[in-house]
């Protein structure tokens, strides 16, 4: 240890020994990070992670073994790290960092907070907690061969939310239910179907034909409604939930197949106006399936990478329904299954159902391997990238502790040395965005909604929590009286939940004040009334988001023009060009900026990708137009060329 710390000056050596460090996340980066911290001489480390260990973690999360599968990541990581190095003091929390126990007082105990997270919600939250506690935060992320580390300090640098990130795109319900046109639409539908049949049914995830499709305006809609009445008497399917119907048929795979892929499709065909400009779907009957669609010359490929024929899909559909049915029965009456991409029957079911639906709608069929990527939002992950990023993370933390936060950088890890022979691209930290709705002094945003149809509950769940990341908001009207419409105290404002905003006098131009006591964060929202938003959106943030989108478009245009930039994010052989999140909310990813949205229960992900696009563009693109920007950037990077930073 002595030799190790010798390189650091005495002052920093002391700081390393006495500092308290919080590590948020004990996954791929977290395991490497804990090891690095212990071996750098840190003595007082706390680690928090909500997750438990899965088999697919073992190829990189080296503190875990086969026998640990199912146990708490934080606790096993602590035990393993201590076993190797018993001198350290590590405290583990198997808990969500977003829970109210971890308030600003908790965060204030630490000298530096290190993020090794895998999702944006938690990153947003830790960002706010560190701003509130005024503690430096080192943020990190990896995806395949790519990675990033950055430093966030209140008042000095951009915060995690200074550059708003493009929001996850969700698909309109009617695209999923009535008019799919891409494989991802069918995959999202199949995951919804899984939940309808075996899991926790969500009314937003209906899989039956949608008679409220806006395209069915006028007579066509009426016709469809009439035919619905007819269908009802035949199958008795529309008035019951899919679940109850399936239970009544005893989960007979053939009946389920024929309802979904024959009767429902016939029903869709009756909505004629949908098919005026589209290729109409072709219903399938379980007993007379075409034996096409498969790839015959790929028999030597493993099962997962082969394209199944329709007949094979139907067979696998049948098998998986039988398996899932018996799984469900084991759980008793109120049992539910949770969809898991690593559960073979669940994955088989989604592959088969998605492909059968794709075939019906004339959409290319995908292999199980590809569908797994898309359905499970799988980000490739390997030990090497995590090791690199964790090494960089500790170096940045050391600079902070030595009081040299100005020497900190945002560092991007490329897939291979770029055209300038650089594997790493360090960039100066940007100053805070004065318009940031999180770290500016008086955060303000404007949101368009339909005040007569949006309920208080939707406002809370989708806008205040979903969009703006508050976790325990109190919301009052800025009406001079301070009417409280949402309280963080459970049950206090429950009666308001189902009422529309207009009930409280909210109209075009009304302001509401949101206060999150945990994040010590206040946000004022001005609501603008609109009757209808495009693509069935329930709300739209004015200003920042459109700027972001414009920037993202610019970046992707640059990426398309230059070979070296964002396109290099995608491993070329297995690029997940689309993705659907685990909670069933579909999201689509354009391959130019796929990292921007990949985010889920999966492994670590890139931190702030709109910034990556910007900075990479500035740093790497070999287009004349951006030469100026690049020069600017390299000057920034090199300005301290002569100064050797003594750590």
């Amino acid at each position: 240890m002595a030799a190790d710390l010798g390189v650091l000056n005495d002052d920093l050596q002391e700081k390393v020994k006495s500092s308290r460090i919080l590590v948020v996340g004990a996954g791929g980066i977290g395991c490497e990070l804990l090891k690095n911290l212990v071996l750098t001489g840190f003595k007082d480390i706390e680690v928090i992670d909500l997750d438990t260990i899965d088999v697919s973690n073992l190829n990189r999360q080296f503190l875990f073994r086969k026998e640990h599968v199912g146990k708490s990541k934080a606790q096993v990581a602590r035990e393993s790290a201590l076993k190797f190095n018993p001198d350290g003091k590590i405290k583990a929390y198997h808990d969500s960092v977003m829970s109210t126990e971890y308030d600003t007082e908790f965060f204030k105990q630490f000298d530096v907070v290190l993020n090794a997270l895998d999702n944006r919600a938690a990153r947003n939250h830790v960002n706010r907690m560190c701003l509130a506690a005024d503690k430096p935060l080192v943020e990190s992320g990896t995806a395949g061969y790519l990675g990033q580390v950055t430093v966030i300090k209140k008042g000095l640098t951009e915060c995690y939310e200074c550059q708003p990130k493009p929001h996850q795109k969700t698909f309109p319900g009617c695209t999923i239910r009535n008019t799919p046109s891409e494989p991802i639409h069918c995959i999202v539908w199949a995951k919804h179907l899984f939940n309808q049949l075996f899991g926790e049914a969500d009314p937003d995830e209906d899989v039956s034909p949608d008679t409220e499709d806006p395209e069915l305006a006028g007579d066509a809609g009426k016709q469809a409604l009439q035919s619905e009445a007819k269908e009802d008497t035949v199958g008795g399917i529309e008035r019951k939930s899919t679940r109850i119907w399936a239970q009544e048929t005893g989960y007979d795979p053939m009946k389920i197949f024929n309802k979904l892929f024959r009767d429902d499709i016939h029903y869709l065909l009756s909505m004629e106006s949908l098919w005026k400009k589209r290729r109409p779907p072709e219903p399938l009957d379980f007993d007379s399936l075409p034996n096409t669609g498969g790839s015959s010359d790929n028999m030597n490929l493993i099962h997962d990478q082969r394209i199944w024929s329709v007949q094979e899909c139907a067979d696998i559909f049948k098998q998986s329904v039988d398996l899932l049915k018996s799984e469900l029965q084991k759980q008793g009456d109120a049992g539910i299954l949770v969809w898991d991409k690593d559960e073979p029957a669940a994955m088989d079911f989604v592959t088969a159902a998605a492909n059968i639906r794709a075939y019906i709608f004339g959409i290319p069929i995908k292999s199980r391997f590809d569908i797994k990527s898309m359905a499970g939002n799988i980000i490739p992950a390997i030990a090497t990238t995590n090791a690199i990023i964790a090494g960089l993370l500790v170096m940045e933390a050391l600079k902070i502790l030595s009081g040299n936060i100005n020497d900190c950088r945002t560092v991007y890890l490329n897939r291979h040395p770029n055209s300038r022979k650089k594997l790493l691209v360090p960039c100066m930290l940007d100053p805070p965005n004065p318009k940031c709705y999180v770290c500016s002094s008086k955060p303000e945003v404007t949101v368009k909604v339909n005040t007569t149809s949006m309920t208080v509950k939707s406002l809370e769940d989708k806008v205040i929590k979903g969009q703006f990341g508050l976790v325990a908001p109190d919301v009052e009207l800025d009406d001079g009286k301070g009417t409280i419409i949402i309280s963080s105290e459970e049950g206090e404002t429950e009666e308001n939940a189902a009422k529309p905003l207009s009930f409280f006098g909210i109209k075009n131009g009304s302001r509401i004040k949101c206060d999150d006591f945990l994040q010590e964060y206040n946000l004022n929202i001005t609501l603008l009334h609109v009757d209808k938003l495009e693509e069935e959106k329930e709300f739209e943030v004015v200003g920042d988001v459109s700027e972001v989108q414009a920037r993202a478009a610019e970046a992707s245009a640059a990426a398309a023009a230059a070979a070296t930039t964002v396109s290099s994010f995608t491993p070329s052989n297995t690029a997940p060009d689309n993705s659907a999140s685990n909670n069933g909310q579909g999201q689509k990813i354009d391959d130019e900026d796929d990292l921007e949205i990949i985010e889920d229960e999966e492994e670590e992900m890139i931190v702030e990708t709109s910034a990556i696009s910007r900075k990479r563009k500035a740093d790497e693109v070999e287009e004349p137009a951006s030469k100026k920007a690049r020069k600017l950037n390299s000057e920034q990077v090199n300005e301290d060329d002569d100064a050797i930073v003594v750590l």
Binding site: A3, D4, G6, V7, E32, N36, V38, L39, T40, V55, S56, L58, N59, R60, F62, F84, N85, P86, G144, Y145, R279, G293, D297, I302, Q305, D342, A358, Y359, G362, I363, I378, P380, A381, I382, A383, T384, N386, A387, I388, I389, G391, L392, V394, M395, R409, P417, K421, K422, L423, L424, P426, S567, P571, S572, N573, T574, N638, D641, I644, L647
Partner: protein
């Protein structure tokens, strides 16, 4: 049954990486034998990152005993084991990482082993050496160069890291380029494609079929029309391509009122005009491979890569009529499943026919070289043909060439430093200077706290001598020398962790033969979080 279960477990365990290098990449990794020389922190970090993804086996060669200092920065050495064999302790702890990996150790100094039994090293897929004095490095690299075994030399020295890769020749079939053009042959359609497109008639199609005709077919059709109008020539310049786009636009169906319908497939066709009109050609890197004497003059000891390359070259020069074998894949597009699959089949079948020609040629070549038929399988041929435009061959310089003043590139390196005012490459020279120091004093500068100051002038002398050998190429600031002495050859764990990641990744590239490894030296500066790749 248990075999099946095992493979299922592996598929799940390795799922996240299979998405990067595929089953065959995993297979190559699982049959690789890696040798690590010296179980320092950097050494064990590299092995950890190879063991986790499932390398076949590893062997640690290390004659040293575990010290207190080792335990302080190496996760895979235990306090209780101080005084025991470092090779053995590290092997035991590393083996806990992955039950599918086997590990061995050889408790002997690498130098002695190299003298006593150099053949020991001959069976490895790659040798990774850390903390090796220059003298031993020369012996080892000379031996491995002769035996054609790749060597990776990794070093964590204070806040500086370096990786040097040596391989006589490294061939890459799957280089996974970031942006690959599709191989669609619209400029020179093969008979099957022409036949298929001719079987479709846009003018008689109803709306549903018309708007679900794959864009490939649309471009094919309109290209024929264009060529008839332009004396058989395709659109050449920007202006003509725009006119061609307009021509396609005019083909969009109109409703009864004469208003164009929305046809996504036509939009796609227009968007794909430019890429589709890029003439089919052979990339220069591939052309160079064909012209290489290893390709032209096959020997019985030629590697499969060169036999395959030769067969493809022969294909290009005969039935291929100047083009590489067809890749056989088409991108996703708006189309009904039926015709999409038909079109896919058209490409696949042609690719299969061409690959078969190559496979036959490979068999002829194998026979004429007196080699066994199964040296190269049909699957190998298919993979090779699919990647024919992405083939890469890297020839590395040897350590001897790097060090010999007659062939060294230090001058060039320094020239680049001065031009770009990026100084990371200077650390390479400093690392060479401390090696000289070690050769003179049998220790590194600054390793004893009380001698840091005294070592500074000594290191300056070493540096001056070194630079003199290479023709006084550069004047290095004293700051660098001071910094180097301050490091005292310490190995900082975070630097080791970083290098462990980068080096293991390069080793995986070498082992799997996928992706293009760096050529040939990588320097990392942990102070500034910068790095550079240079060829030395």
């Amino acid at each position: 049954m248990s075999g099946e279960k095992e493979s299922l477990d592996k598929t799940r365990k390795y799922d996240r990486q299979l998405r990067l290098w595929g089953d065959h990449g995993q297979c190559a990794l699982e049959s690789a034998k890696v040798c690590l020389i010296n179980a320092t922190a950097t050494g064990t970090e590299i092995l950890k990152n190879l063991i986790l993804p499932g390398v076949g086996s590893f062997t640690i060669v290390d004659g040293k005993k575990v010290t207190g200092e080792d335990v302080g920065n190496n996760f895979f050495l235990d306090k209780d084991k101080i005084g025991e064999s470092r090779a053995q302790v590290a092997t035991d702890l590393l083996l806990e990482l992955n039950e599918d990996v086997t590990g061995n150790f050889m408790e002997e100094s690498p130098e002695l082993l190299l003298e006593r039994n150099p053949e020991f090293f001959d069976t490895f897929t790659i040798v990774v050496a850390v903390d090796l004095p220059e003298r031993v490095l020369h012996k080892l690299s000379g031996h491995l160069w002769e035996k054609d075994i790749p060597l990776m030399v990794v070093r964590a020295y204070g806040l500086i890291g370096s990786i040097r890769l040596v391989a006589r020749e490294h061939t890459v079939i799957e280089s996974h380029p970031d942006n690959a053009h599709e191989d669609l042959r619209l400029d020179r359609p093969f008979p099957g494609l022409t036949q298929y497109c001719d079987s479709l008639d846009l003018s008689t199609m109803k709306k549903k079929d018309h708007s679900h005709t794959p864009w490939l077919v649309i471009i094919f059709k309109y290209l024929q029309i264009w060529k008839e109008q332009h004396g058989g020539a395709a659109p050449k310049n920007y202006k003509e391509k725009n006119e061609f786009k307009k021509l396609i636009q005019q083909g969009v169906l109109r409703n009864e009122e004469g208003v164009p319908e929305v046809e996504e497939n036509f939009d796609e066709a227009i968007n794909n005009v430019n890429v589709s009109l890029v003439p089919t050609s052979i990339p220069s890197a591939v052309q160079n491979i064909f012209n290489d004497s290893e390709c032209v003059n096959l020997q019985p000891e030629s590697k499969p890569f060169w036999i395959l390359a030769r067969a493809v070259k022969d294909f290009v020069e005969s039935v291929g009529e100047g083009a590489l074998p067809l890749r056989g894949t088409i991108p996703d597009m708006t189309a009904d499943s039926e015709r999409y699959i038909q079109l896919q089949q058209v490409y696949r079948q042609q690719a299969a026919v061409e690959a078969e020609w190559v496979a036959n040629r490979v068999q002829q070549l194998l026979q004429s070289l007196g080699k066994s038929k199964d040296t190269i399988t049909e699957a190998d041929v298919k993979l090779f043909c699919r990647n024919a435009s992405f083939l890469r061959v890297l020839q590395y310089r040897s350590i001897a060439q790097e060090y010999d003043p007659a062939t060294a590139k230090i001058g060039e390196l320094v020239g680049n430093i001065e031009e770009s005012d990026e100084d990371d490459a200077i650390w390479y020279i400093l690392l060479r200077a401390v090696d000289k120091f070690y050769a003179d004093f049998n220790r590194y500068p600054g390793v004893y706290d009380d001698q840091v100051e005294a070592d500074i002038p000594k290191l300056k002398t070493c540096l001056a001598k070194l630079l003199h050998e290479y023709g006084n190429v550069y004047n290095i600031k004293d700051d660098f020398v001071h910094e180097m002495c301050r490091y005292g050859a310490a190995e900082i764990h975070s630097v080791a962790s970083f290098l462990g990641g980068v080096a293991a990744q390069e080793a995986i590239k070498i082992i799997t033969g996928q992706f293009v490894p760096m050529n040939n030296t990588y320097i990392y500066n942990a102070m500034k979080q910068t790095s550079v790749t240079v060829e030395l």
